[in-house]
Symmetry: D2
Subunit: 352 residues, 4 copies
């Protein structure tokens, strides 16, 4: 049995000592209260589309592209006053008919999920991708990208980035493209033709070796078809119903090293089991309505709403309607996995 | 300058010495004539369907399933008298209406490409896969597999295995299943639903970690759609036109560690460039007609023919018809790549 | 040329609008000032051993193991008031003769570099490692570990952890071992015997597949011998002289997924080139003296000092003495690399 | 229950049918007798140094370097009349004082284990490696290599190559260097200095990414020290005693993709358990004496003997002397593993 020594220094002694430490830019670790498990500074929160849309449209009235190259509203978690989640932005951007969003690049990996509009495009490193509602469009770290709205109605999208992570890790670079937009390339992007058939791949090129997906656009139609096929045949995840990860078709890994993208189908009436994990998640409701219980708090959601589940918060989903709910989400699972920090736990006490 | 010594031993001395060596199970390496590049023992060869089909059907008249559990004709390369290529079998198998091919497993990795028939199935480790013409069905190394023809017409398929490689490497095991067939599982295989959407994958399970594809059936329809999409947009390979590799959707790698499977589209009139590589290839014509030049020899091919291109033989393909040709092929590229033996060369003198 | 619209909303309108946004937990991204490159909140700073040692020894007078299970002084960067660097702690711990530091585990990956003392030990998941000055001892994430001082003099060590990263990412778990210390295992650790010969590895076991090194102790003697061998033969790095990374002998990768450990030799009079990178570094001087220029600031260092170089700060090292300087360092390079955030740049204007 | 049809075709009918098949270069798979497990064509065999050495020296009397650039005796397995094992050569080469072996390269991966001599060197792609008895020297696939004996006594070495595998797979290329030898480089190789410390690696260069080890020489002294350290502390393998694999220090993998190299220590009196695996092995006795039981056959070995254990042959080793036996060996384990063909089995009936 090891000896546990106790020394009863006086409060004055300790106070003087701590002051000496501070004078040398030191502090005593043993005075730090260390908890047994993480508690995110972010809180469960939901932003309703009924509030978001008018405010986004109002931005379009108040600021032009000269004032705001990117007319983006940051969904700010009340717990952090920064992004929607600890490592993730999940913002709303609006682009008016005829507007062009000038080309730049940055360390931040980014993605768009198109909520509303007719037709626009994003150019990523010279490849031109169309954008229609339901599309997931990826603009990976340090790739040039510009956007345009070529229709006669506004385009609104969910604009998610790993910007809070980049800020925490102090690695943010950004650069403007020499010209306003990237020059027209050889035509529209062809990655859908190349990679959208699972288990088939062009053999005339070596597999692309970028750290991110070479297929920067994932249409909703294909995802919904896959969800429907699987919903007819499988139970899926106890915590998420039928849930698909958008993957890099070359490696099977996540679309970017810092953000995982998912789409899930909750069957009418489905009430999932409760769990938690060390990744934060931002959800965007594509179709349907229901609610999510997060650490005892109920967030009711409808189409196009956005809500945030903090890391290590228990959560369970309920589709309270009589038609399938389709929910898109972004997480930092790839970060937590790469660093050995991912952990998951079923609720020992069942549903909330 | 190093000295090059010459010693003029008499022929008798050398003869006696070589005999002494032989007596000790030794031989002198310097008497071996070593060539500068490989020369396969296999030769370019084609088996025409017009010959293969009647002989396969004749087998069905002459031997029952008691005599020949697997009624398979081995396409035997005239240069080796063994398989169609140095490391690959590309055989023809026939299964009559109502017949069942009993379950077994073996070291050999195998695949079927269905040529003719209505409907059958293959069970692979308890998963039941339908088989219709054009399907590629994989039965990986050491997986239990049985087949059945549930229709009223014969099924014929190309039956390709790495059996010659297994024989060269002396690693062949085989085992019969305790029962005739594997018990009915929980229903039909679901891997198409799970993995056939490129860039989307079920997130409720960890990615399967088998050394082979978890999707054991690849329907022709999907491959043709992908070929057509790409033919409309890209030039493809100078040597192979629009060519797709069937891949393991989890890793992006080959379907098995020892056999690579490909399907290609040659446009009407297309005449590819000439090249060679250290992998042997067996081709099976799915649709169309044309010819292939192999080391100066012309092989004219039509639908359902099978032909063999030896390793390091120059070859170029010609679609001499006015409609697209679709050609399936198997190679040992994964073997050559894994061992660092893959090498490729354009013909320095252009087409043959 | 795309149109750049300008809308001159009044200040009142904007103010009211921003208030509306805030009421909905939103803020306008375009008001954020985004810099072109990262600027760490941490600043260049040095803690001298002449200050650290007395304060550490004073802790041993004022608090016992009952008050402070781990008697650790946190080196607190003046820019952040937290750890020595943005993602890293580089603390000083003191253990008195006969003291035992009770067993626990935590998400934090940790390491010790022994500065002073005779002999102690660390037990990591049941393996007992001796600790003498110069040793690098690794206690990876979520491995049980306890320490003891079995000599008659205090042991002091550099105690480095990824704790600030764990805090930023909100993934910290901790747990006390059921007993005071881990039970005596089958004897002393044998990983030095197993893995310390480069290019040789026990073949009777599969290679360990932990995400961290299976060799938890790296003695200084071996590192110095390697540094001396290389210093006699090679120029080494223009920025760091002869510098070695401590690696996982099984994979060649870093010792832990979140911390890279290095040891370097600067020749007498050596003045390295100037560069910067997106990783922060904490240095500990093992032997010798010199100075480091960091973004124009000169930090003079002597034996046992600890200093911090923030991410993306230009730095160059000078050994101003007439004997070799040996410097140990920890970085978050593995984190930045895993996430695709690592970037390095030579100073375009040469030395500072 | 599936129907098993039997068709009693007459012998004449079948004979005629088989002739028809042969005429079309086909044969009936069902007539092939397929065994349940592999049976190597190679047989257990030993070549004694007392026989090998005089015959090697006799070669030096009978043929000069003009007649035999490489004076190599092929150890020819009586079962195959080709190399010592199915996929491996294990030959004996002799180089006389002052002789130079001209530079060339080939697909074959090769290695030397120096048996006798004073000092020579091998140049591999411009790097000069000394060669003294006990050294393992690697000349990987397609690397230029030349040798010289710079001493006043002959050098003899074990010369092992994957040449039989290259022949089976029909991938052999070879090329002579434009000059007699490679030009003197910048001095002696430095890979020992760089990589021989386990868990430490130069950080000023990216890790070499060749498919083979960047450290082409492994001295015996280091291996013996590691064997002794481990023999003092661990039981080792039940089948092989204390056995180390020579590894690529960058990846922890085998030294070449086609050959695994091992060195083992059998304690005085040690009698290992019996097992078999799908890899063939060639052993070379460095020190000591004993015997090996292989499928019931006893091969007694002494210093410098070479013996061959075929794939899937049961074998167990006995050190029948009173001092440690040190045995070097080469296998094709990396080939069998890469292709998914490696399998291992303990003898169910114990020792032979």
């Amino acid at each position: 049995m090891a000896k546990r020594s106790s020394i009863k220094a006086s409060e004055e002694e300790l106070k003087a000592y701590f002051a000496d430490l501070a004078a040398q830019n030191l502090w005593p670790l043993w005075t730090l209260n260390q908890s047994k498990e993480p508690k995110s500074k972010a809180v469960p929160y939901i932003w309703h589309w009924r509030d978001l849309r008018p405010l986004a449209m109002r931005a379009a009235e108040l600021v032009g592209t000269k004032e705001a190259e990117r007319r983006v509203l940051v969904l700010s978690n009340p717990g952090t006053q920064w992004g929607a989640a600890n490592t993730l932005f999940a913002n709303i951007q609006v682009v008016l008919p005829g507007e062009v969003v000038r080309s730049h690049r940055h360390t931040n990996g980014a993605l768009r999920f198109i909520i509303e509009g007719k037709i626009g495009y994003t150019v990523v490193d010279g490849q031109r991708y169309p954008m229609v509602p339901g599309d997931l469009v990826i603009t990976p770290s340090w790739c040039w990208h510009d956007h345009a709205n070529e229709s006669d109605v506004p385009i609104l999208w969910l604009d998610s980035l790993d910007a809070p992570l980049v800020r925490l890790l102090e690695v943010g670079f950004r650069e403007d493209y020499p010209d306003e937009i990237q020059p027209p390339g050889e035509g529209n992007d062809n990655s859908q033709a190349r990679y959208s058939s699972g288990g088939l791949r062009p053999a005339w090129e070596p597999a692309p070796s970028t750290p991110h997906t070479p297929m920067c656009r994932y249409p909703l139609e294909q995802a919904k078809a896959a969800l429907d096929r699987l919903a007819a045949a499988e139970a899926g995840s106890p915590y998420d119903g039928i849930i698909l990860e958008y993957t890099n078709p070359i490696t099977g890994g996540p679309v970017m090293p810092t953000i995982g993208c998912y789409i899930q189908l909750l069957r009418p009436g489905e009430h999932t089991e409760c769990h938690r994990h060390t990744s934060c998640v931002c959800y965007h409701v594509v179709e349907g309505s229901g609610y999510t219980m997060i650490d005892g708090q109920r967030l009711d959601w409808e189409e196009k709403d956005v809500f945030s589940v903090p890391a290590w918060a228990f959560h369970e989903h309920v589709n309270s309607s009589d038609r399938p709910a389709i929910v898109f989400s972004v997480t930092d699972i790839p970060v937590k996995r790469a660093l050995g920090y991912y952990r998951e736990q079923s609720s020992p006490s069942g549903r909330q």
